[in-house]
Point group: D2
Chain length 349, copies 4
């Protein structure tokens, strides 16, 4: 923490800052400047509120944090990449996993059919929503536990591990009984009660970036989960809110290499939610691979025109298959191949 | 709903759209254009997903909603302003109420002292946080139920109704036992489970705008609460996220007259969170009154330098008193006066 | 300038930084930290590129500027407010001036009629556009010099000084022959050639904030003008681009007190362009006064339904008159009254 | 254009709208709705201001444009991709061209050395700035015509066509004497005088996206150039301003496939300005290729630590060479290869 004094701050003000730092067990080092005095605070800054309090003191112009606000999620805490094993699928080991499936789970047959198709095309993980956050109270909000059962049936039928969203602290135990990865949605990135709760669960957690979250805030949200003991956190970039309206959000692909530099956690890209248009999924998925994403979320629906939610951004089964072929080629070109599939279930029919 | 066809869409594509509308019990009216055909859909559009599904059909360029997505919160549903009575204080009746108190409740003495001071300066409602959402897991997160008890003691001591935040669905019943108004924080604006739950509570709810929520999304979040039966919803503008970093957020004061035009619900302004600097509270509070806000949230702390949270944006007791005097004058000038205080408790000591 | 080294930076890297600073005639002061070394650079940093160059050196994590990037525009350079005299009207002296008139100049009669009306309602300065920046090449782009002549006729007829936009370096001399204040539009805030040119003119300049300009960038743009010798710069807040679409832009009223803290230059508010709706002009104009704006830009048109540009955000003559009455009362309430009018021309008819 | 009436608009208001449409030679078609009347306007809407004027009429809730605001730049005007030939290099033909060179031209030797190196690595076009827009008036602003001469020398030495920025209408003729492509910078995207002027030049123009320009505004800016007769316009995505501060801007890669859908013009990506960090250039360049960009702008400097501007985002010659090898592989994988180089000059020494 550096405390920049105003031009013309008095000696008394400087002494006041030094004295207050001492109250917090911090040592102040004066650095004289042409225009202003800067005070460096040395010691362990346990409480982030200290910075705010110093900023209000007489004579202080600005307080600058020089430590990163997060700890456990940072590269400075752990140099090597975190690699998470989900039912035999490795996430974060230099390959890219594809998580595919419908946005909403509609019924068992629909779920199993889609699951078989994405498995046949090469997906490593199956996705499907049973609890759906919706902007309007009048929209379809998911099948709940019944949906989780269909998801489990589809895992059975294919051998693919499953990921699904949990929206509330009191549902974590229920969802964790069915899911292999717990997904935290973008609107819940700072639902701190929920973060605490999945921090206590024994399942990996995929944390989507908030619509207007900075990378620092996102890593601090991951820190909530890790601070409770759960080290298996996967980040997911899914587009940020900007002024542009041609796309639903702006998929911030540069966030992927930035996060990989700051943190050891794996990071996944969600091009469908990031853009809101199916015709952008394909190019943005390839681009996600080219920037080094550890994974990809893709919405696939046998009949997107009739999907119960987010139809406009879903791929057909044929489009998904063709995307996978294209990703194989790009993965090879950039030295970042698709991950191997887990042991698939034998198909009866 | 208007469906704009692409230039050169075929008759078959147009017929396809008309047929699909029929499946949804909507009638399609063709409107010929120089360049494109536009189809107006007449009927009750129950499910917002219909729009997305139409948008994916062959030949369709764009689907435009012409009904507002919200119903109960809209002026078209209710012409007259909603006026909410909270322990004798009227919110939304053309006066402005001031909700003042510390950001965090620190202890009973601190709470009661602050409460007496803000009551003496003319505040109508007392605020104080017992459950605090914090960006970092290592920051002070509030006293919980103990804090609620201090808040109740301060209400006892002053006669002012109290407002406090609830962060989780399972805490609504607890917080509602103590609070006169339930506050939903900015990070929870789209925590739909929580919205459902306070929609069932028998206490007024103040819903803060999400950091990057459009006004439409905000009114849809209020719709969640109203759809569950709770009509006493107060909106609170508290700054949106923009590219500017000189202030913590950008307080969108124009949202206040915009909301008053679109909705019958009362709306409050929170200049401290909107700006992040105490020296901006005063001018932005006066401006909030000038644009017609129904209320004002202000953080007041006897000793902001030592506050446990958000010290940099709190007013001292003296500054708050001087702000109230200034608001009296502005309120008179714009014909939008401060609300009368409720019956205050007799002060013993 | 502070140079924050990475955790674990080597002694050699630190020595490298110190050596490079010496090349720039800067002295480096080491400040040891628990986690990282910080180097303070003391001396005159003439070239802003130095900071970028230091940031690329081996072992450097971040370079933090502690001097403000602007000089002449800053309060640290000049403590007292700049007060600009325009034909007897003082801008920046603690009163508020109102600059009113049509968005585009349409013909002489229209200009003179509007001018007389706004003068009668109490405006201090007359505005009108002869060169109009338009997003589409097919929109009306102004009358050019003919428009300037109508503007001069309206000045003659009323005695009000006039402000009008100049869009190009090669037009500065022409526009300065007619105008009392040269206006630089939002799209030209970083048209550095134009800034240089008006910096050489002997007329005050009003510099609108760029649509996505930070306050620092805006003050740096003003610095361009001042660096060429023209000290009479007026800033104008006119709304920034955000994700919200209910308003055309988001008028950032908090920028006004922020600018007044950082800079000695006067600052004006333009609520019409900031919001895009005439019904928001009134409340946002009052709010601008409440936050301490030194001036107000208002579009007034005798018949806004037929205006050649920006009709939707213009006031009628009646609305303008009623706004002026309301501003009188607010100005009194906040101790920031309307400025006196200049000596008006005798009206013949 | 669709005119949506308010709920409960009177018949008289509807008739008023129809009558006004007639004044503009437009025919109004009524489309009855459950809740509101919608009026479709059929005919040629020459003047974009008509829409604004209709929006202010009594009883009108909203006016919705259904034609795209641009014409010449749209796919609806020209179905086939525009392919531009620059000294034998084809831009927009399904291959990707690489425009490489220093941000600022520093001296002839430096320019020629860099040019030879980028030619040897496979670049098709040479870039270099002689006129530099700089946020601060105290930063290096380029060598001017002397720089253009060095650039011409480097073209001579290598055979690569050159691109360089023009900042002002009165410089277009000068810059066009030296340059093969005229570049319009991001801050000048809406400098309409400059757009008009390059619209009259006989050289291709590369138009960078404004920092906060929507795609529609960007295409309208291109429309200015095309409306003057110059059809050889290249667009360049270079990052938009968002709330995120970890990167200088947010490179909006999804804009590339969106633009290719809306327009026939070629589009180039500038990952260095978009991100501000050299370590992001490589992944974002590969991603640009993966989404189908027609070209890439890259800053290369033999010694970026000593560059006169934008050092932190420049690649070394070695890094550039390795990037080109990587792009070859990605181009092959996505079926969008690097363009062939033009005939190179024989190297003497």
């Amino acid at each position: 923490m550096l405390i920049v004094m105003r031009m013309g701050a008095t000696d008394e003000e400087v002494r006041g800052v030094l004295a207050r730092l001492k109250e917090f067990n911090l040592e102040g080092h004066l650095s004289p400047g042409k225009e202003r005095v800067v005070i460096g605070a040395v010691g362990v800054i346990g409480d982030p509120d200290i910075r705010a309090q110093m900023g209000r003191m007489s004579g202080v112009d600005e307080v600058i944090a020089i430590s990163r606000p997060y700890k456990l999620t940072g590269r400075e805490f752990q140099k090597e990449d975190t690699v998470i094993d989900v039912g035999g699928v490795k996430i974060g080991d230099g390959t890219m996993v594809v998580m595919a499936g419908p946005c909403s789970i509609e019924n068992e047959e629909h779920m199993v059919t889609t699951a078989r198709a994405v498995a046949a095309s090469g997906a490593q993980i199956l996705r499907g929503g049973a609890f759906k956050p919706r902007t309007s109270p009048y929209a379809f909000r998911g099948l709940g536990e019944e949906g989780l059962q269909h998801l489990a049936a589809a895992r059975e039928a294919t051998g693919l591990p499953v990921i699904t969203e949990v929206m509330e602290a009191r549902d974590v135990e229920l969802v964790a009984r069915y899911a292999d990865i717990l997904q935290i949605g973008t609107r819940n990135m700072q639902n701190f009660m929920l973060l605490d709760e999945v921090g206590l669960a024994r399942k990996p957690v995929m944390l989507k970036r908030g619509l207007s979250a900075t990378i620092d805030e996102w890593l601090l949200a991951a820190e909530y989960i890790m601070a409770k003991g759960n080290r298996d956190v996967i980040l997911c970039e899914r587009g940020i809110r900007t002024f542009e309206t041609a796309t639903r959000n702006t998929l911030d692909l540069s966030a992927i290499p930035v996060v990989k530099r700051l943190s050891h956690l794996p990071i996944v890209s969600d091009p469908a939610h990031g853009t809101g248009h199916w015709y952008l999924v394909d190019p943005m998925a390839r681009a996600s691979m080219a920037v080094g994403a550890d994974g990809l979320m893709v919405e696939v629906h046998p009949n997107p025109d009739h999907a119960l939610s987010d139809g406009p951004q879903s791929l057909t089964l044929e489009n998904f298959d063709s995307l996978m072929r294209s990703l194989e080629r790009v993965g090879e070109a950039v030295g970042h191949p698709l991950a191997p599939q887990p042991q698939l279930a034998a198909v009866a029919d």
